[in-house]
């Protein structure tokens, strides 16, 4: 009796010690919280697949600084409350070294106070400019901002000498944030907004606001949104016979949009990351080999590549480079190294971060593309 108890204690002690030993040289833990279900799942799904693919790849090549990388993922379903709960869990329960994620701006903005308080680097994959403005110590992002998208659209409008524009947006976070940027930037580009209509993202018909737009003196229509709604707007524009040029946001830069909108998508222009037109880039473009390599790797395993998966690619590789340079997972060092990211060629463009700019992309990172015969075409 006594002996067995002694043995048991010994066994427990041995387990405890070995568990501690494993911990010392344990894996580098990267946490992520993405929207892999719900309306924004078409953003989160390729992001998660990309992260898993890259982590596998890093581990196959011997890990980072000789340590394996472990990816811990939770699905937020696009709910900001869940996002915050999961980030707390990542930080306190899973003890992650760094967080990549936040598919949507809402999810990211919800967790910012928490990551700032707990001092842990966060690389967001979401769009809103508020994430990095003002620059916060621990928060970085790799996706183009909605302000850049607005600026790119306005540049194109200026080239085509169109000044009277109608705006139509949904009621989601991405839509509202994009609308705010468009309203703010329009005067700088000498653009007059002659209509500012809205719809619900779950609506199945947008002809009512579009009929109002038809009655204005608009020379072009801008629609800012993602998911089903922009495809319906595009279809309705065609059905109503409004022959104006249509601009969409980078939120629809995926094959799904073309499939959903069908014929109506012809001639629609939008700012998009170079990834969707990788094959059409000049051979001298430094991004080209990286884009094609990612595209090939992703498409050999999953379906067609999307720019959103590209953001995950950029995010995790910037993190990996920073961990390599920091020589470990010390959070302050890793943060400093992320901030020092210079000339990193990713799928979204070339990143040059500074203490003031925690994204580091400029307008060149966007290409203005037009949908032509059901495919993307660069218009420069």
């Amino acid at each position: 009796m006594l002996k067995s108890q002694f043995l048991r204690t010994l066994l427990a002690a041995a387990l405890f010690v070995s568990a501690n030993l494993v911990n010392a040289a344990g894996p580098i833990k990267i946490g992520t919280f993405l929207t892999t279900t719900g309306p924004a799942s078409f953003l989160g799904d390729p992001e998660l697949k990309t992260l898993q693919m890259i982590v596998e790849d890093i581990n196959a090549k011997g890990g980072l600084n000789g340590r394996n990388v472990e990816l811990i993922h939770y699905d937020t379903g696009g709910n900001a409350r869940e996002a915050l709960n999961f980030v707390k869990r990542l930080i306190r329960k899973d003890n992650v070294d760094l967080i990549v994620g936040g598919t949507t701006s809402g999810d990211t903005l919800a967790v910012i106070p928490e990551v700032e308080k707990e001092s842990i680097p966060l690389i967001s994959l979401a769009g809103a400019v508020e994430i990095i403005e003002p620059a916060r110590k621990w928060v970085f992002k790799v996706a183009h901002t909605d302000r850049m998208a607005a600026a790119k659209i306005f540049e194109d409008l200026r080239k085509r000498h169109l000044t009277q524009v109608a705006l139509i947006t949904g009621d989601g976070g991405f839509d509202k944030s994009g609308r705010a940027q468009i309203l703010k930037l329009a005067p700088e580009y000498g653009i007059t907004l002659v209509a500012d209509e809205s719809y619900g993202n779950k609506d199945t018909d947008m002809t009512t606001p579009l009929t109002k737009i038809r009655a204005t003196s608009a020379q072009a229509i801008i629609n800012f949104g993602f998911g089903q709604a922009p495809a319906i707007v595009t279809k309705n524009i065609k059905q109503l016979g409004i022959g104006l040029p249509v601009y969409q946001s980078h939120g629809v830069a995926s094959q799904t949009f073309i499939d959903l909108a069908g014929d109506a998508a012809e001639g629609v222009r939008l700012p998009a990351a170079a990834l969707v037109v990788a094959g059409q880039l000049a051979d001298t473009d430094p991004q080209k080999p990286i884009l094609l390599a990612y595209k090939k790797a992703y498409e050999s395993k999953h379906g067609p590549v999307s720019t959103f998966g590209g953001h995950a690619y950029d995010g995790i590789l910037i993190a990996a480079e920073a961990i390599k340079r920091a020589g470990g997972t010390d959070k302050v060092k890793v943060r400093d190294e992320i901030e020092k990211t210079q000339g990193f060629i990713g799928t979204a463009g070339v990143f040059n971060m500074t203490p003031e700019d925690h994204m580091g992309l400029n307008l060149d990172a966007f290409k203005m593309v037009e949908i032509h015969n059901g495919a993307w075409k660069i218009v420069e």
């Binding site: 939770y74 699905d75 709910n79 900001a80 409350r81 869940e82 915050l84 709960n85 999961f86 707390k88 869990r89 306190r92 329960k93 701006s105 809402g106 903005l109 919800a110 967790v111 910012i112 106070p113 928490e114 308080k117 809103a128 508020e130 009621d171 989601g172 976070g173 509202k176 944030s177």
Partner: protein, 320 residues
Amino acid sequence: MRLTGFFIFAASVVLLPVLFPDNYFVTVVGIAAGLHVILAVGLNLLMGYAGQISLGHAAFFGMGAYASAILTTRFSWPSLLAMLAGLWVAGTIAWLLARPILRLRGHYLAMATLGFGIIIHVILVQAAHWTGGPDGLGEIPPLNLLGWTVDGDQQWYGVIAAAMLLSIWLSLNIVDSRIGRALRAVRGSEFAAQMMGIDATRAKTQIFVVSALFAACAGSLFAHQQAFVSPDSFSLMISVELVTMVVLGGMASTFGAACGAIALTLLHEGLVVFEDYEMLIHGALLMAVMIFLPQGLFAGVSQGVRRGWALIASRQRHKG
């Protein structure tokens, strides 16, 4: 004697962080559970005792949260004052709403409260100028109680645990007071209650306001604790979840509601590891509880324990 259960519960709430100071399930999940308990106990007063259903309770939760969030960030009000303002707003709206809405019964009352909840949610999303829209409001300053700033998980656990115990104590007392008995009479038969001289409308109105105040108070604490609010936290789903907590724990029992709130919070946290199957298991468990413990979790389990105890006692007697 009446409060024995309360003291046992209070003692375990106090002991938990002492025994497991940095445990995730105590300091993070515990805080969420505590807020849910306040909400469920408040809703139970209305649903369990007065027999009035509310599918819009998240709206009052949201009012408290947004009042604190907006007043402290945009107008730099002191947090305690903002909380009182939130209580006032929620209480006034509940009072104004109670008369027309509590005339309705059954499905109609459910529909009306549901509509109210949705209206408030739409306002939170659309009035972006004030509420920050769907992306929410961030950088809410920490709670300041007469010079003491609440900071860190453990302090928050303390504050929320205190608020939770206070709400349970209040609820236990309300239930055992004249108004509590009046409410139960109203629930049994409104007509009979009126025949006995109970002002049913007044009783229902009062409890609706009290219930809204509980929710608004939880909302204010929630806003400061999270330092961020967005309409997601006050949607219809949350209202439904609150009703589930009350029903799951056992209606017309303060500890039942508290038990349901804690059980549902823990369940959600525990099932996260199953990823895609989470919802499936979640639903199956809820169904199982409702089929096998129709009185609710608390009554079912305590009954089981009592029966088990009686069985053991009788066996002991046989032996002796």
